[in-house]
Symmetry: C2
Subunit: 201 residues, 2 copies
Amino acid sequence: MTERRRGAALEKALLDAAWAELTLHGYAKFTVDAVVKRAGTSPPVLYRRWSDRDELVRAAIAHTMKEARLAIPDTGSLREDVLTLMREINSTRAELATIVIAHLAAHYQATGIRPGDITDPLVTGRKEAVDVLFARAVDRGEIDPARLTERIKSLPFDLLRHEFLTTFAAAPDRALEEIVDEIFLPLLVGDAGGGASAGRV
Amino acid sequence: MTERRRGAALEKALLDAAWAELTLHGYAKFTVDAVVKRAGTSPPVLYRRWSDRDELVRAAIAHTMKEARLAIPDTGSLREDVLTLMREINSTRAELATIVIAHLAAHYQATGIRPGDITDPLVTGRKEAVDVLFARAVDRGEIDPARLTERIKSLPFDLLRHEFLTTFAAAPDRALEEIVDEIFLPLLVGDAGGGASAGRV
DNA sequence: ATCGTAAGATAGAGGCCCTTTCTTAAGGAG
DNA sequence: CTCCTTAAGAAAGGGCCTCTATCTTACGAT
């Protein structure tokens, strides 16, 4: 150990190491010892900060989420706003979703914590900010606010999350477009039976 | 041990014990030793059948799935068929989904197996059989087959699965009705903006 | 009755989680 | 500059869990 790190720098090194181990070997094979070795430190250093393996995992997840905040797009059309946001989410969140669900599902009986309890950061980082997309679309006269139920608002992101949770990977772009053009937009802006071209904004 | 079980009876006792431990304590706290004790046997008996903890988990999942096959409803209307099936799935599959996702997500990096690879048994047991619901609706003239994309066919079950995977529990019946009346049926049979009453078949 | 096989019992090795103890480096105060 | 405090780094070890080896015993078939 050539140089001792202290405080926040050391903590970041530990969390980055933990994340690397989670993504490389998966939740099942994640070991505290591997994190310690990767971070070039010793066990008490880690346990001074997190009481056990699970708390370390949760801290690594939270740390990674914080480092990957999403911007809210403003493209001038609802379709493009939603697709852009979905593409952003798609390119950064599949891995995170896999690890989060692995941890929460394994501990649900003990903790009662569900993905839905943290689902906003899982997908978008800010629910209120997504509402901005819809407000803008209403202002532009693109959609009728009467059609805008909570379930429909969350629909594209629910389906994207479903993709993550059933494939553990980013979805093909074609799938994002199907979700928006075949399901989401027809529900909001047109005769639902029109198909993709009628649904195009 | 007053009476020795042999063969299939012993194997069923082991698998039932494994399932009981998974549902009671969750995937994270599941131990082979607890299964052995619950089944009233010894470790080599278990390891003669399954090479390790993970294989035992998978066998318990498969055993439980086999014991909970779903019937395909035939109510005379698509709405009732889909709702009935969703209610059946809802009442029997949330727990199974939680355990399956816990195992698969934790091992994804090592195995590459995703829920989608076994998603049919997870939800319905038989994809072709669900297609029968839609064929009947087309025969009855309820829906236009041109509207019936693969993604729309799977939509209610995808959204139900999404409920399971974000709550680890059965969904409220209200949610099932919202999925069908607010999203699924408007896409298939009417002007999507009509709301629940217009969507009712 | 005997024989073969699987069930049941038990001890133990290795790995992992977590804790205790000790040494050492680094930062801050005087 | 020195001294003190605190956290980092090192290492040993206990307990639990997974899994294996070994032995005894029960049960079914012949």
